[in-house]
């Protein structure tokens, strides 16, 4: 296929025109082929990495369910999108629902699933409505039962085991780790796949792995949706080629780099990067960022303005994540709360002696001790804030002062979790 590399997922009618109908979708890119083992090979060859945050190879995931010994399987379309800095999944579901549903049908055909669950965050009302209408629009075209599930609001509700737990038992809390591709919904091997990943599958099935890899980098091929927000910017979703330098994305969004202090990459389980000379060159892709100790996650780019404080922003996120614990595992419940409170004390310049050391000790203590990765993600974010804003933490701890909002402005800051 010739033509410009971008856009792919967001190609078609102008985004302002709203939802693309099934008829328009088919007229534009044709019908998807029928899925089967060939598609697993194609996905392997494409190098598509999951776009839900973990970046797991999609082909490998499909193969592990497709090559089960026997018995039924289940497909779960994950559109929970509980990440506050992300809007790309609901944008995709609202604008191009049939790309997502094509992907779901291909998944069901390929792994031989008997049922498809479309799991959409209940707070994403427009996405939920659009997906509902799009499922009905396909009428009798469904060869397997499809259930639309409104996922309860919550940061952990999109976690793989929580998704399965909710579909099975109406409880969106994570369960003790197990392998859903072996035993998922009602014991059947289950493929849980993010909506954007499925939309890429819809295109790969039509155009092939070679076409897919014409965009992006050899180690992270394709395009990806990113959500840009913060620093007074209106939250917006754009499609980029993986590996695009951060500076280029900021420039194309009209962001004044000099007005920025830093950027949160990946989401609340992601990493902070301070805006300095090298930051503009950071390649936005899972592998390139990981080599630099940073995260691509779900493509979240939350900007921190020069007049905002990294310690304060981190304290707010930690308070949020502590509150979003499913409250099942002690180290997560008590550890994240303690970490959030200590960070909040630092943020408002009322640190207790030893708070920095305490944070360090607790962070190490909490790591790896939850049933799910919630505590690990929170602690990773906190650790990255120390790398990016170390001097600010020192200033806060030793002088009770902040370079972004000095003096009275800092004292007037809402004390967040410390309150």
């Amino acid at each position: 296929m010739n033509g410009p590399i971008l856009p792919r997922l967001l190609a078609g009618p102008p985004l302002g025109a709203g939802t693309e109908s099934l008829a328009d979708h088919v007229a534009r890119i044709g019908r998807a082929p029928v899925g089967g083992p060939w598609l697993v090979d194609e996905l392997d060859a494409s190098g598509l990495l999951g776009r839900g945050g973990a970046g797991f190879p999609v082909g490998r995931k499909w193969r592990s369910v497709a090559e089960r010994p026997a018995g039924p399987a289940v497909v779960v379309v994950n559109g929970a999108e509980g990440e506050p800095g992300s809007a790309k999944d609901r944008a995709l579901m609202t604008l191009r629902p049939h790309l997502v549903l094509d992907g779901a049908v291909l998944a069901a055909e390929t792994i031989g699933a008997e049922v498809v669950h479309v799991y959409v965050g209940a707070e994403h009302v427009a996405a939920l409505r659009t997906m509902h209408a799009a499922i009905l629009e396909r009428g009798a075209g469904w060869r397997v039962p499809v259930f639309l599930v409104a996922a309860p609001r919550g940061y952990v509700a999109g976690e793989q085991s929580a998704v399965i737990h909710y579909i099975e038992a109406g409880d969106a809390r994570p369960t003790t780790p197990y392998r859903p591709w072996e035993r998922g919904v009602d014991g059947a091997p289950t493929l849980v796949q993010n909506v954007e990943s499925l939309a890429h599958v819809a295109l790969i099935s039509r155009h092939g792995a070679g076409w897919f890899a014409e965009a992006g980098r050899a180690h992270s091929p394709g395009t990806a949706l990113v959500t840009l927000s913060g620093a007074g910017l209106r939250l917006g979703v754009r499609e980029i080629e993986l590996g695009t330098p951060l500076g280029e994305v900021l420039d194309s969004a009209g962001v004044d780099r000099d007005a920025l202090r830093g950027v949160l990459l990946g989401g609340y389980f992601g990493t902070w990067a301070r805006l300095d000379d090298g930051t503009a060159a950071l390649p936005l892709d899972p592998v390139g960022l990981r080599e630099r100790g940073l995260a691509f996650g779900a493509g979240v780019l939350t900007l921190l303005g020069r007049d905002e404080c990294g310690v304060d922003a981190t304290a707010r996120i930690m308070a949020f994540l502590a509150g979003e614990s499913a409250a099942q595992c002690g180290p997560c419940v008590f550890g994240l709360r303690a970490l959030a409170d200590a960070t909040a004390r630092l943020a408002v310049g009322r640190a207790e002696p030893g708070d920095l050391g305490r944070i360090e000790r607790w962070a190490a203590m909490v790591q790896g001790r939850g049933a799910c990765a919630h505590p690990d993600g929170a602690v990773g974010l906190l650790a990255s804030s120390f790398v990016a804003f170390g001097d600010e933490y020192a200033r806060h701890a030793e002088r009770g002062d902040c370079s972004a909002t000095p003096g009275p402005a800092m004292a007037a800051r809402p004390a967040g979790a410390a309150a």
């Binding site: 973990a54 003790t176 595992c329 002690g330 962070a363 049933a371 933490y393």
Partner: protein
């Protein structure tokens, strides 16, 4: 005999702390009273004590199990940069003196 690991069901565990009392060689408690289990197989000389700790747990959150195949697999792929590990225990930063 198979080598056994001590494993905690984090969701069940509510921090009674008997395991740390009965098996301090392997189990310590964090600042909130929840067990931290030393990694690796339980040494033979401690197996009886470990079994006693498992039986004593009031919420049945502790068990002895063969090392997970999955964890071996994960370790095997760990050399290829497959799963990003948060740099959690890497908070090495120290406040500069006289800043």
């Amino acid at each position: 005999m198979a080598r056994l690991e001590l494993r905690v069901d984090r969701i069940r565990c509510d921090g009674a702390g008997l395991c740390a009392e009965l098996l301090p060689e392997i189990v310590s408690l964090d600042d909130w009273g929840y067990p931290i289990v030393a990694p690796g197989a339980v040494p033979d000389v401690l197996l009886d004590h470990a079994r006693r700790a498992v039986e004593a747990c009031p919420v049945l959150a502790l068990r002895l199990a063969e090392p997970r195949r999955a964890s071996t697999a994960r370790r095997a792929t760990a050399s290829t940069p497959a799963t990003p590990r948060p740099a959690a225990v890497d908070i090495r930063w120290q406040p500069p003196r006289g800043a």
